[in-house]
């Protein structure tokens, strides 16, 4: 009987295919929007989580200048020196401190060239960032101390200069310096902010200072805290040391800042979730509107089919059976809408994931929820019209024109 009723419902829906489609459009849009929002939201928070992991735990960035500012907005606070990094590395709360000086340069190999970010640092930098060398080797201590003309390259630079061949042992030119590629870094992917982190060259900091930028500035220091040290305590001790080294009088403000990267990324995740939640609730409203659309059309359908209902009652249908017929029709209708919406939403999310370079992360739970929810929309908004159909008087219904 149920199978029969479902078949009947599908027949009735197909009989008015265009109208049925327009009827369920609201549900389609609602479900598609929810699915797309949740899937994209989950993809981007997955990515944030991944980049938090790539930053390592307890990672801090020390920069000259007061607040955290964008590039080019620093005030006139003096840069750090290599000695600052060494002193910080001596603190018990610090596991590793890596000086960073950087410059955007064109790297040349044969006919190929690539403009890339050249970072001067040391092996502590890779340690802080959890960034292993996958081919070749890292810098030796003598190389770091003497500022030898050696470098490590990221996968994107390798692709541009060397294609798929082995770059180690080759020599690239950075400005006027010929520099031996000693190692290849592991693929890291895009950062939280969408930068390609593999488009980079890393050289010993002294080599960059002496032979490229021609000064002894260190623009920032990356710090990893020792295990078991809280971020608050680490920041307090680092600030105390730096105030002393930079001779800042009591009562004066710091002319440097310490940024906790994990905090920023978790804040980003939070913003992400709030946005996804807001958009989803807008989508939920459109589901509600879709449900009302279904109710409206089912009421029209009941009126149009009054005579049919009369015939069914005359041949022995009970009220419950008429109710079920129209209720199932509404549910089938909104389930079809839900299914189309799920497929549409996933497709949208997939395309968006492509464009935004984030993982495509469909959630089975949310898909199931959308399915159940669209069935529920059918039941809730189909009930009233179905009850109206079931309550018809057979004599009146048969007389209906």
């Amino acid at each position: 009987m149920i199978g029969e009723t479902i078949r009947l419902a599908i027949q009735a829906i197909l009989r008015n295919a265009l109208r049925s489609f327009l009827t369920v459009l609201g549900v389609v849009i609602g479900v598609a929007a929810v699915i797309a929002m949740v899937t994209i939201g989950k993809g981007s928070s997955d990515q944030v989580t991944a980049s938090v992991a790539s930053l390592g735990t307890n990672v801090l960035i020390l920069r000259p200048g007061r607040a955290m500012m964008g590039p080019g907005l620093r005030d006139d606070a003096p840069a750090f020196r290599l000695a600052d990094a060494e002193a910080l590395g001596g603190l018990s709360v610090v596991k590793a401190a890596a000086p960073v000086a950087s410059s955007t340069l064109t790297a040349v190999y044969g006919n190929a060239n690539s403009t890339t970010l050249v970072t001067g640092s040391d092996m502590a930098y890779l340690d802080v960032l959890n960034w292993p060398v996958v081919r070749g080797r890292g810098f030796t201590q003598p190389e770091e101390r003497s500022g030898a003309a050696v470098c490590l390259i990221g996968e994107s630079v390798r692709q541009k200069l060397f294609g798929n061949t082995d770059p180690t042992g080759e020599t690239i030119r950075l400005k006027s310096v010929s520099c031996e590629v000693v190692g290849l870094l592991q693929v890291k992917g895009a950062s939280t902010f969408g930068q390609d982190q593999d488009d980079t060259v890393i050289a010993p900091v002294r080599m960059l200072q002496r032979r490229i930028s021609g000064n002894s500035d260190v623009s920032s220091i990356r710090l990893a805290l020792a295990p078991g040290v809280t971020t608050d305590r680490g920041i307090r001790e680092i600030e105390a040391l730096m105030r002393e080294r930079r001779r800042i009088a009591i009562g004066e403000e710091d002319d440097f800042s310490v940024t906790d990267m994990a905090e920023i990324t978790s804040m980003l995740t939070g913003i992400n979730n709030v946005l996804a939640g807001l958009l989803s609730s807008v989508a939920a409203v459109s589901l509600l509107v879709g449900g009302i659309g279904i109710m409206n059309i089912m009421l029209v359908s009941v009126t149009e089919r009054t005579r049919e209902i009369g015939i069914r009652l005359a041949v022995g249908a009970q009220a419950r059976q008429v109710l079920m017929q129209f209720l199932i029709e509404a549910v089938v209708l909104s389930l079809i809408g839900g299914l189309i919406g799920i497929v549409t939403g996933l497709s949208l999310a997939w395309v968006a994931a492509r464009f935004m370079a984030i993982p495509f992360a469909p959630s089975p739970a949310v898909i199931l929820l959308a399915f159940v929810f669209s069935a529920a929309v059918g039941v809730v908004f189909g009930y009233f019209p179905a009850r109206a159909a079931a309550r018809l008087d057979p004599i009146e219904a048969l007389r209906h024109q």
Partner: protein
């Protein structure tokens, strides 16, 4: 001709009243109707509009309940049954034929005939076989997959009769079955009903305006002002050609 044993009435109305409205606006559609119809009878009901014949048919057909009085169907008092209980009687014991055919549009003849069988909970294959059999019986073999819109009025009424027959009812209630048909088709439909009555022993109660059609019945009941005004046996009709 009547070589069958005397039978108890299958339909028995006693003091049936059906009132609509209340107070000043009260209308007595039926005002004390007594009528007994035995199994195998073919009864024609005539009367002017508003005489109560349609109301009586609705009550006999268990589509409506009397305000007072007793209606026994197959000996069982059905006057106080609920809507759903009456639906069960219609489903299992009654077949309806209407003036306007009342077939489902955009639904094949076979599916139309299957409709009451669906509610009987019959399986698909059995249903199709039964429906095809009923269509063959009314002379529509080969038209199973036609839509009502592809059939003539006479053929549509045959489909409706097949639908009434399909569930194997004890009684067929026909409300002006020839009202929408020309004379020739009307006589064909009446021959068909008379044959079902004669050969299958199905009790037929028919409302009609036309003396010609009433002549097919074995008994004529006339309603005036909500009462039975006359009730007489009809002269045996010459065998239809």
């Amino acid at each position: 001709m009547d070589d069958r044993p005397a039978r108890a009435p299958i339909i028995e109305l006693r003091g049936i009243r059906r009132l609509y409205g209340a107070g000043e606006a009260e209308v007595r559609a039926l005002d004390g109707v007594d009528l007994a119809i035995r199994q195998g009878e073919f009864v024609a009901i005539m009367g002017a509009s508003g005489s109560g014949k349609s109301t009586a048919m609705n009550i006999i057909g268990c589509l409506d309940s009397p305000t007072s009085g007793t209606y026994r169907f197959e000996g069982r008092d059905v006057s106080g049954l609920t809507r759903d209980q009456r639906a069960l009687i219609r489903r299992h014991c009654l077949g309806f034929v209407f003036q306007g055919f009342n077939l489902l549009p955009r639904t094949t003849a076979l599916e139309n005939v299957e409709l009451p069988l669906i509610y009987k909970g019959m399986g698909r294959a059995e249903r199709a076989a039964r429906a095809a059999g009923a269509l063959a019986k009314v002379g529509l073999r080969g038209r199973e997959h036609h839509d009502p819109s592809e059939l003539s009025g006479g053929q549509q009424q045959r489909v409706a009769i097949a639908r009434a027959l399909a569930s194997d009812p004890a009684v067929i209630l026909a409300d002006e079955p020839t009202g929408n048909l020309d004379t020739r088709r009307s006589h064909e439909i009446m021959d068909l009903l008379a044959r079902l009555n004669r050969e299958d022993g199905i009790t037929i109660v028919m409302v009609t305006h036309e003396e010609d059609m009433a002549a097919y019945a074995g008994r004529l009941v006339t309603f005036i002002d909500g009462r039975v005004a006359s009730d007489r046996a009809m002269p045996a009709r010459e065998a239809a050609t």
